[in-house]
Amino acid sequence: MIKKLLGATALSVAMASTAIADTVKIGFVGELSGGGAPAGTQYRDGALLAVDEINAAGGILGKQIEVSLYDTQTDPQTSRALVQKAIDEDAYVVWGTVYSSSTIVNMLVAQQNGVPQIVGAEAPNITQKGNPYVFRTAYGAHRGVPALTGYFRDTLKAKNVAVAWVNNEFGKGGHDVFIKEMAKVGINVTADIPSEAGAADFAADVSRIKEANVDAVFVYLHEEESARFLREAKKQNLQPKLVGEVTLTGQKVIDLAGDAANGAVAHVGLTAEANIESIKEFGAKFEKKYGHKTDHNGIKGYVAAYATKYVTEMNGSFDQEKFAQTMHGLTLDVAKYPGMLLTTSWDQDGELSRESFMVEVVDGKQVVTTTVAAN
C-alpha cells in the first residue's frame, strides 16, 4: 500500500510541474483496479514510461504530455462513463482500455466525439464495427489465430484437434476464428470445450479432450485459467501438443503452472522475451523504473504513447480528425521511429500488423522458435 501511495504522490508531483507548461492532455482509461488490474496497470506503466521519455525529450510539438488516469474498475459501464469524462476534460487522445468488454462499450463514445482512441484490446469485433477512431496496439485474435493455422497443418500435421476456450467476449472471438480457420484447412475440431472465466476446475475439460483422441489442443484461456489448465493436463498426463495464442506461454502462466507449462507452444504478437534488441532494452528500462518485469501489455502501453507522438508530429498539429486519417494505412518503421519497438502498420479499420513470434516454453522459460512475418 505504501508503495502505491508513494507512487500516486510522485505522479501528481510530476503532473503539477508539467501542468504549468504548455501541455497536451491525454486521457488514460484503464483497468487500474478490479479483475483487469494486472493488465491495466502494465499498460499504464508502459505508457507512463514512454511519456517520461517523450517529455524529457521536449514533448510533442513542444508541448508536454499531461496524462490523467481514469480507473474503470474493470467495469464496462464505468469505462464508458470515464471515456466520456476524459473527453469532457479535453483529452486529445484516449489510451485504453485493455479489456475488450470495456473497449467495445466505450469506443462508441470516443467515436461520437471524434477522439482517437488507442486500445490494448484484442477482441476481433473492435475493428469490425467501422469505427474510424479506434486503433489497436496489438492485433486482434482474427489476425493472430490464423498465424497458427500453418503450425497445426504443417508442423504438427494435425488431423483432429480440440479447442478449450473461455466463454466470454475474449475467448469467443478467438474460438470463432479458430473454428473457421480449421474448417478452411480441413482439420476436424472434435472437442469444443468452453469454460467460465475464473474457472478453477479443469478436470472434466481435460478428460474430455483426452477422450476425444486429438493430435493437438488449442488453448485459448486467460492467464490464470491457462495455468490451471496446464496443471490439470499434466496431472491427467494429456499427451497432445498444447498450443495457444499469446496467453498460454506468458510469464505469469509459467510462474503459476510451474513445470506443467513446459512444452506449451504459442503464437505471440508481442513478447518481452523476444530476442530483439529494442524490446530487450525496453524491458530493462521498465524493470529499472518499476522494479518488476514488463509483459506484452507494458509494451502495448509504451507503443500507444509513441504512436501518439509520431502521428501528431507527422501532422504538425493537434487535429484529432487528421490524427485518425493519418493513422489509417500508416506504417511506422522502427528504424525511423524507435519508440515503436517493432515496425508497425495500421490498416483502414485501425487493425494492426507487425511481425510476431512462435514461442515455446522450455525449462520454465519462453524461447522464441520462429519469427512470423507481418501480415
Binding site: A37, Q77, R80, I87, I104, N125, N167, K172
Partner: protein
C-alpha cells in the same frame, strides 16, 4: 399551503433540474445512471425494506427490462441479432410487464420459503439469467451483447443528446416516484409495512401475507424492469456481464446504506454508490473496501441506514426542545 415536507421535495426537484446545467457529458451521464439505479433500488426497497425479504434478483430483472427494450427498439437487422424497431414508449411498458410477470412466476414458489432461502433462490435465478443471456446468442447477442439501441425521439423532443436524455430520465423518475408513493400510501403499502413490522399480527388481521409479499416482490421486479428499460438507451450497449450477480449485491447494499424502508433511502444509497466515487477519487482502489466497511459499521450501529442516522442526529439536536405531550398521561395509563 405548503407543508415542510413538500418544500423539501420541491427543493429536491429543483436541484435535480439544475444539477446537470453547465456540466460536462460525463457528469450528466453519471446523474442519469444515478436516477436509473435509484429506481431499481426503490423497487428493491419494496421487497427488502417494506416486505422484509432479501432478493438478489434485481439485476436479473434489470436485465429482463434492458434486453426486452433493446430487442423491441433495435432496428431489424439483415443478419445477426436484430430487433423490431418499435418506439421506446411501446417497448417500456412491455419490458416492465415482462419483469412483473417473471417476478410473479419466480416469486410464487420462492416465497414459500423466506429469509435466507429466498436470498439463495434469487441468487440462483440471477446467475441462471446471466447464463441464458450469455449462451443463447441467437437472441441476445451472447457475450458480445447488443449495441446501438436508439434513444427515444418524441418528435418535439429528441433525447439523443446527453442533457436531453437526462431530463427524459428525470421525467420518468418523477412519474415513477409518484406511482411508488401512491402504492406506499395505499392499503397495499400499509400491508407491506405491517408485514415487515409484525407479520404474525398482520396475518391475524386478515392480511394474506403470502400474496402481499408476492406483490411487493413483483412490483419491485417491475421497477427493476423499468430501470433496465432506461439503461438500454442510456448506455446503448448491453451485455450479460452488466447484469451479473455483483450488481444485485450492489443494489441491495444501496437500499441498506440509504435506509431500508424509507421512501427516499435508496436514492441516497444509489448516490453513495454511484456519485460518491467521484468525490472519493483519492481513495483509488480502496473505495469498495471503505464502502463495504462502512456498510458493516452502519448495519451494526445504525441499522436504519443514512436516513436513519440523519433522524438520530436530528432527534439528538431537538431533544431538549421537545418533551412528548402525552408522556405524563401515558404514565398513568
Amino acid at each position: 399551503m405548503m407543508t415542510k415536507r413538500n418544500m423539501w421535495l420541491l427543493a429536491g426537484l429543483i436541484a435535480l433540474i439544475l444539477a446537470p446545467l453547465g456540466q460536462g457529458n460525463y457528469v450528466v451521464y453519471t446523474l442519469c445512471s444515478w436516477l436509473i439505479f435509484s429506481m431499481a433500488a426503490m423497487g428493491l426497497n419494496l421487497t427488502l425494506g417494506y416486505a422484509g425479504q432479501i432478493s438478489l434478483a434485481q439485476s436479473a430483472f434489470m436485465a429482463i427490462g434492458a434486453y426486452t427494450t433493446a430487442l423491441l427498439t433495435l432496428p431489424p437487422a439483415e443478419d445477426g441479432v436484430g430487433g423490431l424497431g418499435l418506439h421506446w414508449l411501446v417497448a417500456m411498458p412491455i419490458s416492465v410487464f415482462a419483469a412483473f410477470v417473471v417476478g410473479l412466476i419466480i416469486g410464487f414458489p420462492a416465497l414459500r420459503v423466506k429469509g435466507h432461502f429466498l436470498a439463495f433462490v434469487t441468487l440462483a435465478f440471477t446467475t441462471l439469467t446471466f447464463l441464458v443471456l450469455r449462451n443463447e446468442d441467437w437472441l441476445t447477442g451472447g457475450t458480445y451483447g447488443l449495441v446501438g439501441m436508439p434513444r427515444p425521439d418524441f418528435g418535439f423532443f429528441n433525447t439523443g443528446k446527453q442533457l436531453r436524455f437526462y431530463y427524459f430520465t428525470l421525467a420518468v423518475f418523477v412519474v415513477f416516484c409518484l406511482l411508488m408513493w401512491g402504492i406506499i400510501r395505499s392499503p397495499w403499502g400499509r400491508a407491506f409495512k405491517a408485514l415487515r413490522e409484525n407479520s404474525i399480527r398482520a396475518e391475524s388481521l386478515g392480511v394474506d401475507t403470502r400474496r402481499i409479499t408476492l406483490l411487493a416482490f413483483a412490483i419491485g421486479s417491475a421497477a427493476g424492469g423499468l430501470a433496465g428499460s432506461l439503461v438500454a438507451p442510456l448506455v446503448q450497449f448491453i451485455e450479460p456481464g452488466s447484469f451479473a450477480l455483483v450488481h444485485s449485491l450492489k443494489m441491495l447494499l444501496m437500499v441498506v446504506v440509504g435506509g431500508a424502508g424509507f421512501f427516499f433511502g435508496p436514492v441516497i444509497g444509489a448516490g453513495v454508490v454511484i456519485l460518491m466515487p467521484e468525490f472519493l477519487r483519492f481513495t483509488e482502489g480502496y473505495y469498495l473496501m471503505i464502502y463495504a466497511a462502512t456498510v458493516i459499521v452502519l448495519i451494526i450501529f445504525c441499522p436504519k441506514g443514512l436516513i436513519g442516522l440523519g433522524e438520530i442526529i436530528r432527534n439528538k439536536l431537538r431533544k431538549d426542545k421537545k418533551v412528548r405531550g402525552d408522556m405524563d398521561k401515558g404514565a398513568q395509563l
